[in-house]
């Protein structure tokens, strides 16, 4: 039988974990989205060296497990004078890790816009920054909502590894509950349900945004 009293007792702890998870993921997503967009623009830059640097970043980030990046930042950071608490490390680690994936989503979005549209824009005298802002980004946003939502969901699930560097997020708090009660089913069932609710909320928002930005 499932001990619902126990879940109720630990409810505040789990909810606190949920709040931390939401906060960390929201900040990390912002970084990932914004820096990913910058990276995507750099991946299409005119200077070869700039393109190569951006590509190197994406490849290194995608080729490294998030846990290793977190360890490097959290335990290795102080060797380079970077002393941060666990939570900021989690936000930065997840954010800059996710940026590599978002960059590829944005790049695909940019490339799906026919070059003819860009040429037409050049012929009426629009400059590159206007073309990016007025022609490419508005169309790209419509195209990238589904893969971005997907990436956001992956980011939320990956945030569970932040428990290993002691961020008091959902998974960490459920482990604390398990340790204190010697129960396994209740804490992890409760935590699975909370993750699922969070992710459903994200998918639902994604579908809502998709309906609003699609006009093509």
């Amino acid at each position: 039988m499932i001990d619902t009293d126990m879940i109720a007792r630990y409810g505040p702890l789990l909810l606190a974990g949920l709040v931390t998870t939401v906060r960390v993921c929201a900040l990390a997503s912002l970084i990932a989205f914004a820096f990913g967009l910058v990276l995507a623009l750099l991946l299409g830059a005119r200077l070869m060296i700039v393109r190569a640097m951006a590509r190197l970043y994406v490849e290194v980030m995608r080729g490294t497990p998030i846990l290793v990046i977190l360890f490097l930042l959290y335990y290795g950071g102080p060797s380079f004078g970077l002393v941060l608490d666990a939570e900021p490390v989690g936000v930065l680690g997840l954010g800059f890790y996710g940026a590599a994936y978002f960059a590829e989503i944005f790049r695909a979005g940019f490339e799906s816009i026919p070059t003819g549209q860009i040429e037409a824009a050049r012929m009426v005298g629009l400059r590159r920054r206007h073309i990016v802002r007025r022609i490419q980004i508005p169309q790209m946003l419509g195209l990238i909502v589904p893969p971005s939502v997907n990436q956001g969901i992956i980011l939320v699930k990956e945030s569970a590894v932040l428990s290993i560097i002691t961020v008091a997020e959902l998974t960490k708090n459920s482990m604390q509950m398990a340790n204190e009660t010697f129960a396994v089913v209740e804490p992890f069932l409760a935590v699975a349900l909370l993750y699922w609710l969070l992710i459903e909320a994200i998918s639902w928002s994604g579908r809502w945004i998709e309906r609003r930005v699609r006009h093509v």
Partner: protein
């Protein structure tokens, strides 16, 4: 009525009032090992309508795209109203111009593409007014007025609020023409403007172009529409394998071809159009 040359004076200053609208000299372009243009010389006079015809792969679209500097040419030069396009003037090794300078030189050019290249996330009016607002820095009200005016010229003022996806091919191409005309160009370049259209929609686009020509617009038209070339062009240029093989008045070029290659081309065309 269409904006004629007097109205076009509101556009950028002429570098040299006596200069030809377009002057191409010794133009060469390679794509990898393939020589697409092999030394093209072409001068276009004010108010002249030049139709460029030729088999596919002859380099006619590439020529037009080099004149617009959508392709970076390798050798020779393209001068727009006397100003070198794409490269900085001067001796020594050539250096590409910056974006601003290129835009300045080609500000008097309008271009219409085979596949319309409208921006699907903007209405017809939005497509026409975008550059008016961003490049010409007009207010929304001014831009809308000028944009509606341009749409009226192509007979589409009623479709101003529609998105490209809601328009027919012919209407899309007319919006594309309006988008170019709104900027009051002195030269219009057309790259196979009717090739992507259903046959029954070709006429509406050609009639807009015919009217433009009648109003004195300088035009270079890459086309497969021999009827248009025969009736509207002042000069027909026949290209093959990256060279201009023959050119002259349409009556001469289309009815009394001198080169074997043009005879073959016209025969193939006649066989197909029967």
């Amino acid at each position: 009525m269409y904006e004629t040359r007097s109205g076009a004076n509101a556009g950028p200053k002429l570098a040299d009032a006596t200069a030809l609208p377009i002057e191409v000299r010794g133009l060469a372009k390679r794509f990898g090992d393939v020589e697409v243009l092999r030394g093209i010389d072409l001068q276009v006079q004010p108010s002249e309508v030049v139709c460029v015809i030729g088999p596919s792969g002859s380099g006619k679209s590439t020529l037009l795209r080099c004149i617009a500097f959508l392709e970076i040419y390798d050798e020779g030069e393209v001068r727009i109203e006397g100003r070198l396009l794409g490269y900085r003037e001067g001796d020594g090794p050539r250096r590409l111009s910056g974006e601003r300078e290129i835009n300045e030189v080609r500000a008097c050019l309008g271009m219409v593409f085979q596949h319309f290249n409208l921006w699907p996330h903007m209405t017809a009016l939005g497509n026409v007014t975008e550059a008016l607002r961003v490049v010409k820095r007009m207010s929304r009200a001014q831009a809308d007025e000028a944009g509606l005016d341009a749409l009226r010229k192509v007979g589409l003022q009623g479709q101003a609020r529609q998105y490209p996806g809601q328009l027919s091919g012919g209407q899309k191409q007319r919006v594309a023409i309006a988008r170019a005309l709104a900027l009051q160009p002195r030269v219009m370049l057309f790259d196979e403007p009717t090739s992507a259209l259903d046959p029954e929609l070709v006429g509406e686009v050609l009639s807009v172009m015919r009217q433009l020509a009648a109003d004195g617009m300088t035009m270079v038209v890459v086309t497969h529409e021999m009827g248009f070339a025969a009736h509207v062009a002042n000069r027909v240029v026949f290209m093959d394998e990256g060279r201009i093989v023959e050119q002259g008045a349409p009556a001469d070029v289309l009815t009394a071809p001198r080169s074997v290659r043009l005879k073959q081309f016209l025969n193939t065309w006649r066989e197909r159009s029967i």
